[in-house]
């Protein structure tokens, strides 16, 4: 068989450091979306909990265990990042590994960068660690999760990786230029 060369979505684009901020790729080895069928959410959540130690997240929240991060990504749907889930009977399970570009923006000024691109207030009092939002970054649909006080994780579709890096880099340069 032909030996194929695996490339991450942001290969050749990241990492970048601008001002006091760093933008780096954070490619998960596996990403799987799960959407429990009607009336099955409790059972699916229990199955996840027994495997990973965390269940199905409530809206706008992300849950972290030592093996995976499970992030709410929309009405009745969540993304399991890090490891593939066990066989789940009561949910639509879709392997989305390689389909998403995942980056982490960290450092002083990260909130200011996102404030230029995202129409949601992501400052700390209302958007704390493990809070997540489905929203826009420029004209792109993204999922944004706060990892800690200075770090955000941003997921966009893989086909948008270059645009994502361009938009964020431009905003980082503009914020850094203000000193």
């Amino acid at each position: 068989m032909v030996k194929l060369i695996e490339k991450t979505p942001c290969a050749g684009l990241l990492p970048r450091s601008i001002g006091l901020m760093t933008l780096a790729e954070d490619a998960y080895p596996a990403m799987t979306s799960i959407a429990p069928y009607q009336g099955q959410s409790r059972q699916v959540s229990a199955a996840l909990k027994s495997t990973f130690g965390v269940g199905f997240p409530s809206p706008n929240r992300s849950l972290l265990s030592d093996r995976v991060r499970i992030t709410w990504i929309g009405q009745g749907a969540a993304m399991i990042c890090g490891e593939a889930p066990p066989t789940l009977t009561g949910a639509a399970v879709t392997d989305q590994s390689d389909a998403w570009a995942v980056v982490r923006l960290t450092g002083k000024g990260a909130e200011d960068v996102l404030a230029r691109l995202v129409p949601v207030d992501l400052r700390r009092p209302q958007f704390r660690s493990n809070h997540t939002a489905r929203t826009l970054l420029g004209h792109m649909h993204v999922s944004i999760t706060r990892i800690d006080a200075k770090t955000f994780e941003i997921m966009a579709m893989r086909s948008m990786a270059q645009t994502l890096v361009h938009e964020l880099s431009q905003a980082m340069e503009n914020v850094a230029a203000r000193g």
Partner: protein, 87 residues
């Protein structure tokens, strides 16, 4: 204009896609007759005042929401998940 998504909270209008009158949630039964189906498919009111639309939070959680709003004052009075509307 801001719409309060029942899942995501208050969001900018640009995250939503306008679908149309919430009549789509009141589909007549197959044997309701021609008049009812003609009304359902073609006829819409154009109220100056309270109206009910369907919107989709397409750049957010993807939920379809029913928005009660006023076309005169532009006030958004209520937003509910279309999934919760009993049909």
């Amino acid at each position: 204009m801001r719409i309060t998504c029942p899942l995501c909270g208050e969001r900018d209008r640009r995250e939503f896609y306008y679908v149309g009158d919430a009549v789509a949630l009141r589909r007549p039964s197959p044997d309701a007759g021609e008049a009812a189906w003609d009304d359902y498919i073609h006829n819409r009111d154009n109220p100056a005042g309270d109206t009910q639309d369907l919107w989709q939070h397409e750049a957010g959680c993807g939920a379809w929401v029913v928005v009660d709003r006023n076309t005169v004052t532009h006030a958004v009075n209520n937003v509910t998940l279309a999934a919760k509307v009993t049909r």
